[in-house]
């Protein structure tokens, strides 16, 4: 019994704090916005130039001039402000965003992150991912614990060292997978620590599916 995508998003939402400014990546991280606790003020930043992102528009009310970084139609809120891409990434690079929640292909035990290219495959580019992981104060990765290969086999994604080209080095603070939660002492020597197990998941299962070295400190 691993966590569902919604359960992973709900767990990630527990990293939010009142007054936080947060950037959410596409995929599971987007779902985190559904789990912001009632009464908590969290403003979502979209790196294409918007702070205070609202929900998707009602059908028929889509505005081509109002999209998020995933190029999806969205809406504004009373708190919303718009700005240029340079100002947006000044905000990101300058460390003003409290939290970035994004997906990953691989995470290493030292906090290295790979999520933008697979050599030999068509490379679409890194978009804003490198800026986000380098600039945002705290980076939480939400991903499946292992990659499912075409032949049905599984490959670990939590590694001693990433073998895919890096998005950033020493950037990840926390990894939430369908099996559990790890913290990473990205700037120090503390390495990776398993702090939570998903419902019904055992330490042994995680051990078997994790290449990275980690200590265990379950609550």
């Amino acid at each position: 019994m691993a966590w569902t995508r919604d359960q992973m998003a709900a767990r990630a939402a527990r990293e939010l704090e009142d007054g936080f400014y947060v950037n959410l990546g596409i995929g599971i991280p987007t779902l985190v916005s559904n789990f912001i606790p009632e009464g908590m003020s969290v403003q979502l930043q979209s790196e294409n130039g918007m702070l205070g992102m609202g929900p998707f528009p009602y059908e028929g009310e889509e505005d081509p001039d109002l999209i998020n970084a995933g190029k999806q139609t969205i809406t504004a809120l009373p708190t919303t402000s718009y700005f240029s891409s340079a100002d947006s990434f000044g905000m990101i690079r300058g460390g003003h965003i409290n939290l970035s929640i994004l997906g990953a292909m691989q995470v290493a035990e030292n906090g290295d992150l790979a999520n933008w290219m697979i050599p030999g495959k068509m490379v679409k580019g890194m978009g804003g991912a490198m800026d986000l992981v380098a600039g945002v104060k705290r980076v939480v990765v939400v991903m499946e614990h292992v990659a499912r290969n075409k032949d049905g086999s599984e490959s670990p994604k939590l590694l001693k060292a990433c073998d895919l080209p890096l998005t950033g080095t020493h950037v990840v603070d926390m990894v939430i997978t369908d099996l559990g939660v790890f913290t990473i002492d990205k700037k120090g020597e503390g390495g990776m620590t398993l702090i939570e197990l998903a419902d019904g998941v055992t330490e042994d299962e995680i051990r078997a599916k994790t290449e990275a070295a980690y200590t265990v400190a379950l609550a």
Binding site: G25, G54, P64, D65, F89, R93, L102, M126, D131
Partner: protein
Amino acid sequence: MKKVYSDATAALAGLLRDDMTVMCGGFGLCGIPDELIDAVRESGVKGLTVISNNAGIDGVGLGKLLDTRQVSKMISSYVGENKEFARQFLANELEIEFNPQGTLAERIRAGGAGIPAFFTKTGVGTKVAEGKEVREFDGAQYVMERGLFADLALVHAYRGDTEGNLAYRLTARNFNPMMATAAKVTVAQVEHLVQPGEIDAENIHTPGIFVKRIVHVPVREKRIEQRTTRKRAEAGAETGPAAAGGGAV
């Protein structure tokens, strides 16, 4: 000093030549100077280096210049939502220089502001930093990136006055303001052409000094890449704020 031109072709007259560098505003298909791109296509100019965050989609925006093989190099952060782009790239017919989106935005801003180079932590330890100077400041590593300056910038604005002052709408602002500052000549297409004074002076996003030519292009069809909606019935239930970002993955 007349800045207003009758149409996109007239606004680009005398400015286009083969192998030039052109900045093109927009994020995805949002805020792209589509009519000016059409005029570039019609001109037949070739060998362009295009600086743009994205490369359009098949048959829309910069996709049109890819179809006609007028582009030889893209400087972008995220591309390939375009079959013809992928084909040319994989066939080595098209060069692509990937920049992190924030680095790209800052390089353009720097080029326009007379900053030839700056340091950023984005990309340190990655392919992006290869061959570039990396230097430590206050205990952290930073990579040196260069300013970008083009021969021509094509931008889209919602409103513009005859003096060249521009205001953008919602997230259609994106790369347009910096690009307007970072080229020898900037040409703007505007949805609404107004008289000086009609745009509140405090809320002019691009002062007229940066815009040499302006053309009024009343709204055409604006394309949406990802039409995401919520149903009225569902409102409030499963649909929290819509968030996306983080580039790839």
